[in-house]
Subunit: 277 residues, 2 copies
């Protein structure tokens, strides 16, 4: 093989590592690919760590042990996360976005890949330690941010459906009470979608009373799956008492549905506190 220079290796390494976030690559894998010695690759990685830190491109980590190697994680500093969410809040603080029932029109921001990639990164950072096996969302609007959270964590995404009349094959259905409206709804998931004994991270767009989220947790219980966290793009200030606990949202909105001009949207407290800390 023609000799590969350090600058070429470092560029290729950057692409390969950042395209597969949170996946551990062994040094041997790269040694073979580039026809280089382990010591050379170690130096490359050390140099890359410096570049990633200096230009705030994410975190490159060396993982020791039998399954060790090098791993890239998307990362965003508390300050940048807070500033990103604050900008979003400002964009969303538009009374014409207030929808009947105290909801907010979010569909446009929830399908922009740059935005959901950053949201997914912020959410992922909160749950690496809890080591989920997959990300679960409920159709429809939360799918893009859930997909990008799953990508950031290197995990599969599982999507629960609103009903089982959707040509999905044998499914587990549960009924749940949509919190705010008080309607009984059905949630459905294909029997082969998840494996018993695994751990789920729930990611969705909107948390109001928590009926849907509670439904997802109950659905996971049917599959004998633990839910290690619940994350949302937006939660509402009222009702303050949700049907679930330990939820984490990026933004909090407060509005009197009868008077859209009362709308306020702000970054969640934990984001604001992480900057002050």
């Amino acid at each position: 093989m023609e000799h590969i220079r350090r600058n070429e290796r470092m560029a290729a390494l950057t692409k390969l590592l950042t395209s597969a976030p949170n996946r551990i690559f062994t040094l041997s894998h790269f040694c073979e690919l580039f026809g280089a010695a382990k010591s050379t690759l170690s130096e490359d990685i050390d140099l890359l760590k410096g570049v990633f830190t200096r230009f705030q491109l994410g975190q490159l980590e060396t993982v020791t042990g039998a399954a060790g190697g090098v791993r890239y994680r998307r990362a965003i500093s508390p300050e940048k996360a807070h500033s990103f969410v604050s900008d979003l809040c400002q964009q969303l603080s538009t009374t014409s976005r207030v929808l009947p029932g105290g909801f907010l029109y979010l569909s446009d921001i929830l399908s922009q890949h740059e935005l959901v990639t950053t949201m997914g990164t912020i959410i992922a950072q909160q749950y690496y330690d809890a080591q989920p096996d997959f990300v679960l969302t409920m159709e429809t609007k939360g799918i893009p941010v859930a997909l990008m959270t799953a990508e950031a964590m290197g995990l599969p995404l599982v999507i629960a459906r609103r009903s089982s009349k959707v040509y999905e094959g044998p499914a587990v259905n549960i009924n749940y009470v949509s919190g705010s409206a008080g309607h009984i709804e059905t949630m459905s998931l294909n029997r082969r979608a998840v494996t018993e004994g695994t751990r789920a991270l729930i990611v969705d767009d909107f948390l109001k009373a928590g009926g849907t989220a509670k439904g997802m947790i109950d659905l996971m219980a049917e599959f004998h799956v633990d839910v290690i966290g619940t994350a949302f793009v937006m939660s509402t200030a009222a009702p303050q008492k949700k049907q679930i606990e330990n939820d984490r949202s990026l933004m909090v909105m407060d509005v009197d549905p009868a008077d859209p001009s009362t709308l306020t949207v702000r970054p969640a407290d934990w984001l604001t506190q992480s900057v002050k800390a």
Copy 2:
């Protein structure tokens, strides 16, 4: 600023360019970021082009003209695309995946980020020249592959809903005939979701008779939007005559719904021909 070495610049450039596919960055932008001369950056980019080609990491292109600069596009060779799709076909050629009505269970593969990223890359490659302004899909199963197609092309994603009863605000609704079933269904899109006079690329999971796709084209006509292409993950061999034209799918399935053991799944002809060519 402390001097930045070529290998550091090349690593950072790789991350910045590949994180924003199909976006044109000016050389001046990078000159400022790295405190380096244009001639130096030009050399960096030339070296990067070689690395990207050598390790098949995608395409780096210099775009000339007033709005010129350098642009990264995800790319996959015809051989690799065909081989990727062939592997998928093999994985899907399982009679237990056949669902009532002649559908195939695809939900598991349609929410894996590695798979939908590659599918999105293959689809995007077919439509750069047609210069769409956004990607349109219909909820639910096509959302991840549509999002990754949009990401590959640097475009926004727009998601049509199955009905307007979804707290989305003022919407345009159309009725359409779900081709195979013959039911009349409603499709809905928020009035502010797209801009008149723009161009849409439709990406969805499944093409059978084409009723839903025809509905999306009609919906776009209501918004005075041209549809420049329609791409699907899977189409069915029957009916051969679809309600839309110029559709492009990755895979074709053929099955007698009454006898799942007749199932075959193969790469679409255009993929096979691109390898032979």
